[in-house]
């Protein structure tokens, strides 16, 4: 198979339903390697569910997901995941370094504890997100932006090829937003594929090169300059969006 045809992520006919209500309907999505893709859509469009379905965290009613031509179970070592910041209790008794080292747990496998090597990798990742001064800081004492950086550092130590991030820009300050954008672009420059659930329509063209418009069904996906049109957006948001291009 030609390298150019290989897909980093390939979603086929994916349908997910909670009880009898469809959350995702017949989704097809091809993500080529090395792109920075934003998943955009209104609340309840199924953005988080799509990411969770790719990660095998929700069971689809139908359809198929492949990461570099293989099912997720065979490829989890090359996939990194940044969950929504609000999905955990930040009052948990632990510190920054410990959380970042959790990114190595998958590679460590059962029972083996993180050691010197894991600590070094975690330190490097913390430097990349500008949090090296906070290693022993209690996680409850972090700001929202700092919490987000810790989660990004945890994904970085996973040393993945494909990254899935759920709203990394949610509620962060301007400095952190810039730092995250720089980091995402570095990842892309290294040939990684990054998929980001994104809320802010204003910044899509600046930050991303690919976009997927989602509202339970896939409205469109592809390069930003082709896909991110007012017609497509109106279809995604049901005409409720005053467009600003």
């Amino acid at each position: 198979m030609q390298a150019a045809e290989q897909k980093a992520i390939q979603v086929t006919d994916l349908t997910v339903a909670y009880q009898d209500k469809p959350v995702l309907w017949d989704i097809d999505l091809d993500v080529p390697p090395g792109v920075l893709l934003a998943i955009v859509g209104p609340n309840g469009a199924g953005k988080t569910t799509l990411i969770k379905a790719v990660l095998g965290l929700v069971r689809p009613a139908a359809g198929n997901v492949l990461i570099y031509d293989k099912p997720y179970d065979a490829q989890r070592r090359i996939v990194g995941y940044v969950p929504q910041r609000g999905s955990v209790d930040w009052d948990f008794p632990t510190n920054v370094l410990d959380v970042v080292m959790m990114g190595r747990y998958g590679a460590l496998g059962w029972i083996r504890r993180p050691g010197k090597k894991e600590r070094e990798l975690a330190m490097q990742a913390l430097e990349k997100v500008g949090m090296e001064a906070y290693t022993t800081r209690q996680i409850s004492q972090l700001s929202g932006g700092q919490q987000q950086r810790v989660f990004l550092a945890r994904a970085l130590v996973q040393d993945a090829t494909v990254y899935l991030m759920d709203e990394p820009f949610q509620g962060v300050d301007a400095t952190t937003e810039r730092a995250i954008v720089t980091l995402l672009q570095e990842l892309r420059a290294d040939g990684k594929t990054v998929v980001v659930v994104h809320h802010d329509l204003q910044t899509v063209t600046d930050y991303f090169d690919w976009v997927m418009l989602l509202n339970i069904r896939r409205i469109a996906s592809g390069p930003v300059d082709e896909i991110f049109t007012s017609d497509n957006l109106r279809e995604t948001y049901g005409g409720r969006v005053a467009f600003m291009k």
């Binding site: 095998g56 995941y81 955990v88 008794p93 632990t94 959790m102 747990y105």
Partner: protein
């Protein structure tokens, strides 16, 4: 000389009882930390209440009061109750707290009915089953303490072996699943450890108040530290402390049930920790507020 007379009571029997109470306090304190951090404090309550009919059924089937058999019955019933709660949540639209309430009261009611029936039969052997309601540590024998020591030791060892996995499960379940840890299996493992801790404490503390032994030491320990390792260790110490002091008090005074006494001792520890612990304590909070206010006043008065 009140103290001296208590000390002379520290004979062999009391020592056995105190060791038993310390062990089960330590085991339930350590494992309770996970329940508290997962916001499943009430799960312990459901398990201990659900265990009650198990004791009665085990007695009815075997006619034996051997602790190991009764504990086994309690464990199976507690386990079934927990599975029922989890299945109700998964398969129906009933929420977690309602499922908990339904299972807890149904099993407990069933247990009470069975106990009453057993008492009506006038079986000479039945005396002593009541201790499982409110606990009577004085009934602990050497072999019971041995059972607590061995099973509790196994539970704590399993907890230490899977330390990393359990920590990840409690902190970030979704991430744990994404990197390949089977969270349902880990969930069942953690729940099973809680079941062990609870049924071990039934004889000494009783079904009604056993959950306090899981929750109180952990809540107190959380006040003093921001590290999981230290929290689990402190919770074990607090649990042991409450166990020993409650047992000794209830054993020296006549016919005070042990469960409530231990729980009151644990409450003292919790109260002290909530008020006086550094950083998270109320006193510390007040001092910090006043200092901030004073500093602000000084800052603003300069202008």
């Amino acid at each position: 000389m009140e103290n001296l007379s208590i000390l002379t009571h520290l004979d062999y029997t009391l020592m056995i009882v105190a060791i038993g109470a310390a062990l089960l306090g330590a085991v339930s304190g350590a494992l309770g930390s996970y329940a508290v951090l997962r916001r499943q404090s009430l799960l312990g309550d459901a398990i201990s209440h659900a265990a009650l009919p198990g004791i009665a059924i085990a007695f009815l089937l075997t006619g034996s009061k051997t602790p190991l058999i009764l504990v086994l019955g309690a464990a199976i019933a507690g386990w079934l109750g927990t599975l029922l709660i989890l299945s109700i949540v998964r398969l129906t639209r009933i929420k977690y707290d309602s499922a908990l309430g339904i299972v807890l009261s149904t099993f407990f009611g069933f247990g009470l009915v069975l106990h009453t029936l057993i008492q009506r039969t006038g079986n000479a052997n039945q005396a002593g089953l009541d201790t499982f309601l409110f606990g009577q540590a004085a009934t602990l024998l050497e072999r019971d303490v041995l059972t607590i020591g061995i099973l509790g030791g196994i539970a704590l060892t399993v907890m230490l072996i899977f330390w990393k996995e359990l920590k990840l499960l409690v902190f970030d379940e979704g991430f744990a699943a994404s990197i390949g840890f089977p969270i349902r299996t880990l969930d069942i493992l953690l729940t099973s450890l809680l079941v062990v801790a609870i049924v071990l404490g039934l004889q000494a503390v009783g079904a009604v108040l056993m959950s306090a032994m899981l929750v109180a030491p952990a809540v107190a320990a959380r006040q003093w530290t921001d590290r999981l390792r230290l929290m689990v260790f402190l919770a074990a110490c607090f649990g042991a402390l409450a166990g020993v002091s409650g047992t000794i008090i209830s054993s020296t005074a006549s016919r005070i049930p042990t469960g409530p006494t231990i729980v009151l001792c644990a409450t003292v520890v919790v109260g002290f920790s909530i008020v006086f612990a550094p950083n998270r304590g109320l006193v510390w909070d007040r001092i910090r507020q006043q200092r901030n206010r004073r500093n602000l006043k000084m800052e603003t008065s300069r202008y």
